[in-house]
């Protein structure tokens, strides 16, 4: 049996997605420097907004603007970012509950080091200079105290 043959294969494609009204409105808000969530029937504010209430499966329609800073509910430090990560230096992924929200969103935190991270810490949005209506219009969050 000779050496197995091998070749690299790149699965590469850019999807062109339609957002629908809820996701579209959230992304529009990001472009305009605003963070919006949805209020469910039971009064919970979901950020980022999902189209259907996970508890009742009802469509969500009641938009509310929330704060641009909030609390880290859990996090992980990534000492060696992968090629596809948005930050090129060590950073944290975190779930962040923004002021006025009842659920947390996934995003990245640009902190000086792992020791600067803790659950319960406050972080705030760092906006991109040029915003297009995409989740990375928020470049990252950063520790509130460091500003």
């Amino acid at each position: 049996m000779s050496e197995p043959l091998s070749a690299p294969y790149l699965l590469q494609f850019t999807y062109n997605r339609t957002t629908g009204p809820v996701i579209g409105r959230f992304l529009t808000g990001l472009r305009d420097g605003r963070i919006e969530g949805v209020r469910t029937k039971s009064g919970k504010v979901l950020v980022p907004p999902v189209e259907y209430d996970p508890e009742t499966s009802e469509a969500t329609t009641d938009f509310v603007e929330v704060g641009q800073a909030g609390v880290v509910t859990t996090w992980t430090w990534v000492p060696a970012p992968r090629e596809l990560h948005v930050l090129k230096t060590p950073f944290a992924f975190a779930l962040i509950k923004l002021d006025g929200a009842d659920t947390a969103m996934v995003h990245v935190v640009d902190a000086p080091s792992e020791s600067a991270m803790r659950t319960g810490m406050r972080v705030k949005v760092r906006w991109a200079q040029e915003r297009v209506g995409y989740i990375t219009d928020i470049v990252c969050f950063e520790p509130e105290a460091s500003s």
Binding site: Y9, L11, Y15, N16, T18, G20, Y52
Partner: protein, 384 residues
């Protein structure tokens, strides 16, 4: 003794080349809500969800049933995701019916979808893989040689493929959900570009966004339902390999045996006489005569005569694809379930302008891969 399975809710989205107004979950939601409304039920009433779709790469979400848990009211419930290539829509219906027939569940929602506009079907179906023969033929390149073989073997005149296209597009004009609403004529088909000789542009299916959903329930709930249900009278699946020596690719045995199985369950001995209408998976027009033979409606080598004589038109002897079929609407992962749902609409008398008068027994058919995966069901206006 198996439980009888009733179809009491059917919902479809408006099909289109691109549904710009909805997100991915929003597309499924539209079909699911219509099915539930038809059934007079809500998500909360469902015991489980069966979801079908073709390759995840169409939408770029791996195992999207996870993503759709909230939109489909599945939280806290079972959800199963099937994928059997092009036949997947049919398989979705069959698995859902099985859960009722075996009394595993009493009420299930089955749903199948594709949002092809998110990507590019040509790319998603045939990316260039190292060591594999190069992409020299495109999507129709696989089926066009088979069609040539069929024409040669049966001696069918060239017009037949065009006639199917015209008939299905004319049917689609009576179906408000259909993607293509064009006034097709023999002239428009003849003048359309030849893509994969012998297949012209107008003899191929479109690429669509869309979803189709059904609510399936047990006999007790079905009988108590205020609207007339459709009743599952038989289901069958068969598979054979894509390539093997001596394989008849034009009239695959898997299709013949699948049909035989589903007919025997439904007590059908003479399908052409007993079945009132059929929704069969015809992505290229020539597959109508080919499947008429494979399904036992026509003698081998004579399927094309049925088309030529107009027997498969709405109002004629055996209307095939009264909805306009895959030739008019093709969200790949959903196409099989749409066939099954349209068959059910017919026996419920709910098909509106494309209703086949007095339809009591209907066949839904789907196939996939290189004509190797088959799924079929027969539905009737009464339980067994």
């Amino acid at each position: 003794m198996a439980e009888n399975c009733a179809i009491i809710g059917i919902g479809q989205t408006k099909y289109a080349a691109i549904r710009k107004d909805v997100s991915l979950p929003g597309l499924l939601r539209e079909a699911a809500l219509r099915a539930l409304e038809d059934a007079g039920m809500t998500f909360a009433d469902m015991d489980a969800i069966i979801l079908g779709t073709a390759p995840d790469m169409f939408e770029g979400v791996m195992m999207p049933e996870l993503f759709f848990a909230d939109a489909l009211g599945a939280v806290g419930k079972p959800i199963l995701r099937v994928h059997t290539a092009g036949s997947v829509g049919g398989t979705t219906g069959i698995v859902a019916a099985s859960t009722i027939q075996t009394r595993t569940y009493d009420k299930v929602l089955c749903i199948a979808f594709e949002k092809q506009s998110e990507s590019d079907a040509m790319w998603a179906l045939s990316p260039a893989i190292p060591f594999q023969p190069q992409l020299v033929a495109g999507a129709g390149g696989y089926f066009a040689p088979l069609i040539r073989s069929y024409i040669r073997r049966s001696g069918a005149p060239e017009d037949v493929g065009m006639m199917v296209a015209v008939k299905d597009r004319q049917h689609a004009l009576k179906n408000p959900y259909a993607h293509l609403h064009v006034d097709e004529t023999m002239e428009t088909v003849r003048n359309s570009p030849m893509l994969w000789d012998p297949i012209r542009y107008s003899e191929t299916c479109p690429s669509s966004d869309g979803a189709c959903a059904m609510v399936l329930v047990n006999e007790k709930i079905g009988k108590a339902h205020p609207k007339k249900p459709a009743w599952v009278r038989g289901t069958a699946m068969r598979t054979e390999a894509t390539f093997f020596s001596g394989r008849d690719q034009i009239n695959p045995l898997a299709g013949r045996e699948c049909a035989k199985d589903v007919y025997s369950q439904a007590g059908i001995t003479d399908p052409a006489k007993q079945i009132d209408t059929a929704e069969i998976y015809v992505p290229f027009s020539w597959f109508e005569p080919m499947w008429l033979e494979n399904l036992g409606f026509a003698e081998v080598g004579t399927g094309w005569k049925w088309t030529l004589e107009g027997k498969t038109k709405l109002g004629a002897e055996l209307p095939i694809n009264a909805s306009g079929g895959v030739m008019s609407t093709n969200p790949i992962g959903a196409s099989g379930l749409i066939r099954f749902a349209e068959a059910a609409l017919q026996v419920r008398g709910q098909a509106g302008e494309h209703q086949v008068d007095g339809a009591k027994l209907a066949l839904g058919h789907a196939y996939g891969g290189g004509s190797q995966f088959f799924s079929m069901w027969v539905v009737g206006d009464s339980p067994v």
